[in-house]
Subunit: 184 residues, 2 copies
């Protein structure tokens, strides 16, 4: 699956593994994340499969860059994936919910501590979706006007992220109140 994120970005323009990592951090990180090491190994695999090709771009005073370009086979593969309907729902894994689920024997204070810390984290994340993400998009469009038509689709995913964090904050606030007032 990381495969398609990489091909998607390379459709915008040829770039290096490092570039792909910074793009991901700035945009898809909230719904698809990968470490640099995985990006490098995946690109190598994609090249072996003929979906991308690479060439070295020498630089002065900095390490050389290996720049990847999508091939026609890569574009066809990507388009095929986009059209394949997704019949499964996203798999959620949330350690906090596991702690809450098994929280009874531990007693309310231990669970409240966990919940309050997460509330702080999710409030920051919400602020990030509301302020930083739109700024970053503006910044990208200023530099690369060709990208502009894509941003309406990006915005839809940002809205999801914002709504999700709002929900998480609300649930945490409610849950904390319920445990504080109603649980022994």
């Amino acid at each position: 699956m990381l495969k398609y994120v990489l091909l998607g970005f390379l459709n915008y323009q040829p770039m290096s593994g490092y570039d792909l990592s910074t793009w991901m951090e700035a945009s898809t990180d909230n719904f698809w994340h990968a470490k640099l090491s995985q990006i490098y190994t995946t690109l190598k695999k994609l090249e072996k499969e003929g979906l991308v090709v690479s060439h070295i771009e020498p630089q002065e005073g900095r390490p050389d860059r290996r720049v990847y370009t999508v091939t026609k086979a890569g574009q066809a593969d990507f388009n095929g994936w986009l059209q394949t309907t997704l019949t499964e729902m996203p798999v959620k894994k949330d350690e906090l919910l596991v702690k809450v689920f098994f929280g009874f024997p531990a007693g309310k204070e231990i669970i409240l501590t966990q919940l309050r810390l997460q509330l702080d984290l999710h409030r920051r994340k919400l602020a990030q979706y509301q302020a930083e993400t739109p700024e970053m998009v503006q910044h990208i469009v200023d530099k690369m006007p060709d990208i502009a038509p894509h941003t309406r689709y990006w915005e839809l995913t940002r809205q999801f992220g914002e709504a999700y964090e709002k929900l998480y904050v609300d649930w945490l606030e409610n849950t904390i109140a319920i445990i504080e007032n109603d649980f022994e």
Copy 2:
């Protein structure tokens, strides 16, 4: 992490890998899922670490069961984990959002097809949280009254799931409307 889900259930009462799988499917599946094969290998590992012990329970007309019991070391480990504050947020991975993000070159109809199918799936899931989950809890409590005090904590996680699916359905409905009306 699956480790702690298994220890958490075994704290309720000794049971087999198969039992653990059915418990998970009925309760934690929405925020922590595991296949049977992984449950079996994890239990084996936990036994090697001394956190659980097992014995064979012969049965007539059915395969024998290997029943696991938590040790004191296992209980201590579990309690330690519950108290360790979680400083990270859950990692989301959502293929649908990747498709939306990169959806522009594909054109609106392809993305709309994806969104409509997911809307159907998430509506069913929402109904499940609202109807089936409370029923199952009632069923468990009827059979094992000792479990009752835990169910208030379970209910908090069910509320999260319900709110999450509501949000997902709302976002899908809005997003479909936006694309249908405003996108070319």
